[in-house]
Structures are given as C-alpha cells and as structure tokens.
Symmetry: C2
Subunit: 187 residues, 2 copies
C-alpha cells in the first residue's frame, strides 16, 4: 500500500512554456502520479490531458491554481503529505530515495518542480530537496527519474485500460482499439 | 569497458522546438551521452550547450546535420553501432535492456529520438525499437530513462570537473567555483 503523488508545477509561463509543461503533465500521468497542480491558468494543458485520457485511459487530472501555490504546499504539508522539491542543488536521489520511499508507505507526496528560478521559500518548506544528479538538465527528466525510483520501475507497467492500447512490437506500430463490448466484458 | 552513446534528434523545428530540444541536449549531456546530432540547423542549441560546458564541465557536443539524418544512421550502423530508436510502439525497455547492455560492452550506440511523426524507415533500420512504457509521454523523459537503465544509475554520479560545482545540500544552494590554480593541481 502506497500513497498518492501530486505534482505541483510552478513557473509556467502561458504560451511560451506550453510544450515543456505538456511534457511534464504527460510524464506525471504516464509515471503514476495522481494529478498535477499548475500554478498558472492554462486551459490548453487541461484539454490536452483530457484528450490523452480519452484515448489512452486513466484518470489523471490537471488543475490550474494560479498564483496560490504556496497556500497549496502549506495545505498539503499540514494534511500530512511529504513535500519533495526536485532541484539540482539538493541532496542526491541515491542518498534520499530509500527514506522517501519508506515514508511513502504511509504518506502522500507532493512533488514540486519549478522552471528556471524557484523562490527560496520552496527550499525551506520542503521536507526533501532532491537532486537527480547535480548537473543542469530538465525538470521533465527529473520528474521521470524521481517517479521511476519511487515506484521502482513498476510505473512503466501500469494498465491504463484505455480505448487505445499498444501491442509492443519489434518493428512498426500495432495499436488495438477496444470496443464498448470488449470493455463491458473486461470490466 | 563500454561504448559511446550518440543521440540523434530528428523532427526539430526551428524556434518552436528550441526549449524541448535544449532539454533533450541537456539530458543527453547530463546522463552520459557523448554527443548529439541535430537533424536541423539551429546554432542556438549549440551555443546553449557550449555555455553549459564552460560552466559545468565536460565535452558534450551538439552537431547540426540538417536533413542528412538517414545517411548518418546508415553510417553509424555500418561502422558497427547499435541503432536504438525510442518509441512508445516498441518493445518494453524491461524486455530489451539486458540484451542492449550486453552488446554495449563491445559496440557504440546511436539513440534515435523523434518528435511527433517518425518516418517508417527509422523503425525498419533500427536494431531495437524500445518503448519506455507504452503510454504517450515525452522524448526527454524517454531518453533519460533509457540512459539511466543503460548506465545502471551510475550516470548520475559522473564527475564533469566543471568550473562550477554543486555541494549537495538539504536546504538552499551551495555552489563552489574552482580557481585555475585548483584546476591545475587537480588535473
């Protein structure tokens, strides 16, 4: 039994960051997070994810919270969630993940990921500031690696029960579309 | 003793894809690839990586090859490199990585990552079409996970010997700047 993971994405700039934030949301969904809070207002991200869910399954949700992100961090923290901030300046993932995973058995986790500049308060309020290596790279990659370590690789086998399903294949593309009837039999 | 990894990024559109391709290049560098070939012409990516190297170290290189990407794949293949194409339609990473890692002990690898549409020839010419899970997410995350599995997590401890180095810390940021003298003593 493990808790739920909520991703909080701060520093999103409308239009300019659409693609990077969309990648972030898709990674959060595919790697087993429960939902993403976006500290901005951007319906295009919400719609994009709804379209992905409609085709590929699951219940991942994006909610826009504008600039109230600190309020949300405090709320999650006071409800017992662990706050994990991913930053290249933090403690190495190898030195923190066992501890986080142990606590995850009884707590939910909020994963905070920023863009270029993250306010100091995020470092201070977080239970863990975690570095996916101490080199600059990508919050998308950092989120993927963190969730992969947290779920120990099992996230890549989640069955999303989508309308479309891929049959893994050595060459080309094989996608099957589930009929309503199949869905009824199967559920 | 393992081989070298070259990342080939196809489908880059000038300006529009700057940020996603820059994330890709940064991940390739930070996760232990040797260089990236960009199937486009975009000096901003090359300059961005040169600036990162100047501050954070290492010799990672980006080369623009325009539309000659198929020629490059064929060239790498005929020189004995394994061609690994990352795609959500491929065989699951869990079912392929042991085989790829075994062959990596005596071969270099070219990792091909596309954008939305990848020409059929890439699926056909590749030695492995590998899925980092069969859900849509991000080529940035896919590259990070693939390299992490290939290098078995050791890539997150690479010493880039940069001018700037991060001292991992539980709160805030600690960065030290190496003097020229230190560099001379140290090398």
């Amino acid at each position: 039994m493990v808790g739920k993971v909520t991703v909080l994405r701060i520093g999103h700039r409308y239009v300019r960051d659409y693609r990077v934030t969309m990648h972030t949301a898709l990674v959060a969904r595919a790697f087993g997070a429960h939902k993403m809070l976006l500290a901005s207002y951007d319906d295009t991200i919400i719609k994009g994810i709804e379209e992905v869910n409609a085709r590929w399954g699951g219940y991942f949700k994006v909610t826009c919270i504008g600039d109230r992100w600190l309020e949300y961090i405090k709320g999650f923290k006071s409800s017992g969630s662990l706050i994990v901030h991913l930053t290249m300046y933090g403690l190495h993932i190898d030195d923190t993940i066992d501890d986080i995973r142990r606590r995850f058995s009884s707590s939910d986790i909020m994963v905070v990921i920023g863009a270029e500049k993250v306010p100091r308060v995020v470092y201070d309020i977080s239970d863990y500031n975690v570095a996916i290596g101490n080199q600059p790279h990508s919050e998308i990659a950092a989120l993927a690696l963190f969730l992969d370590r947290l779920f120990e690789g099992k996230e890549l086998k989640i069955d999303f029960r989508g309308r479309l399903r891929i049959i893994p294949t050595a060459r080309g593309k094989r996608v099957i579309e589930m009929s309503d009837e199949y869905e009824r039999q199967d559920t």
